[in-house]
Point group: C2
Chain length 206, copies 2
């Protein structure tokens, strides 16, 4: 199927199903019902069945899903079967914090390098990730065929940095700044706004 046909929210959920299936497989489980899998993933069974319909025909009704082959099928649909190179732009407080976080690599992403304007940070690796001057970023992206970037620059520099990333071939940006980024069609931005998540929670506190 064409990538554009798969809704963005379905891509998220398929990743979650894939993780649940990996966990089941690690625990020696061979088949799982749609009820159990949907509960583990925190979705309604109808949602699970709809999402899995994007993966083509699967299993026999009443027998549940075969864990290993469903995991492999989803992996093929998502294309998440090899380590993807990523760069990080802006090695300030949050950027440095993310470089120290080991979870990205575990899920198949390798932060090859970080870039910063501040010469004080440059050439001092953070958790084995080198920090280079941002002027060297275009060449690095090209040489290493990097397609994804994590953006942690100050909000005032966010759009400029995004423009530069896109001009040099970056197709996906994980945006940790509060800026609303404007990018050309074909470039995808996922935004994570940590403070906004807390703000939204605090609204519900009595």
């Amino acid at each position: 199927m064409l990538k554009s046909e798969l809704p963005r929210k379905a891509v998220y959920r398929l990743s979650i199903y894939q993780r649940c299936l990996s966990l089941l497989q690690d625990n020696g489980v061979e088949r799982v019902s749609s009820e159990d899998l949907s509960k583990a993933a925190g979705v309604k069974p109808a949602q699970l069945r709809k999402d899995l319909s994007y993966c083509g025909p699967l299993g026999t009704r009443g027998l549940g899903y075969p864990v290993e082959s469903l995991r492999i099928t989803i992996e093929k649909v998502l294309g998440s079967h090899r380590l993807q190179p990523v760069i990080l732009v802006g090695a300030g407080n949050l950027g440095s914090a993310l470089l120290r976080y080991q979870g990205f690599r575990k899920e198949g992403f390798e932060i090859l390098a970080a870039f910063d304007q501040n010469p004080g940070k440059i050439k001092t690796p953070i958790e084995h990730t080198p920090v280079y001057d941002v002027v060297d970023m275009p060449a690095f992206i090209t040489e290493n065929k990097v397609k994804m970037a994590i953006l942690c620059v100050p909000v005032a520099n966010a759009q400029d940095a995004a423009n530069q990333l896109v001009q040099n071939g970056i197709q996906g940006i994980l945006n940790f700044t509060p800026a609303v980024l404007h990018v050309p069609e074909g470039v995808v931005v996922n935004s994570v706004d940590l403070a906004l998540e807390l703000e939204s929670l605090s609204y519900y506190i009595r």
Copy 2:
């Protein structure tokens, strides 16, 4: 209006409008059109008008919104006018990284303390935030009237930790684990899954 009447997504967007308005106010702007404000916030004008309708009657058609009074009105609706105490549970790689991130405080949240099971980490403050033994957590929550927690424990411990938080009066959890948390009604969970955000991006990379 009742808090339950305001949709969760509208709460997010109101926070975004509030930030845009603060920025305008800092720059001496007194009035803003709904077109300009919606563009800055990355939403459609109709969405903005609908969201602002939750705040009651506002301004005069054709004159744009008064920046300062709209900001204050939204602040009152959201109730985000004072520093909210937060605790962090699990001071591993990601937890420590978040403690080093200064952005929460800037947005009105103070991480009072972190809790961990690992005695090696305990009593060594990270960026001035003390790290205590998790056995002292219930008393701390009660004494400091904490209502919000950031959860960064290993996925296998996530539900147990969430249960303990809820039992001690926590009403909002910012969940950084990949676990799907089950909590009683009245408790709100916002989940941030950093690796999942990258996975979802990587799907769209050609």
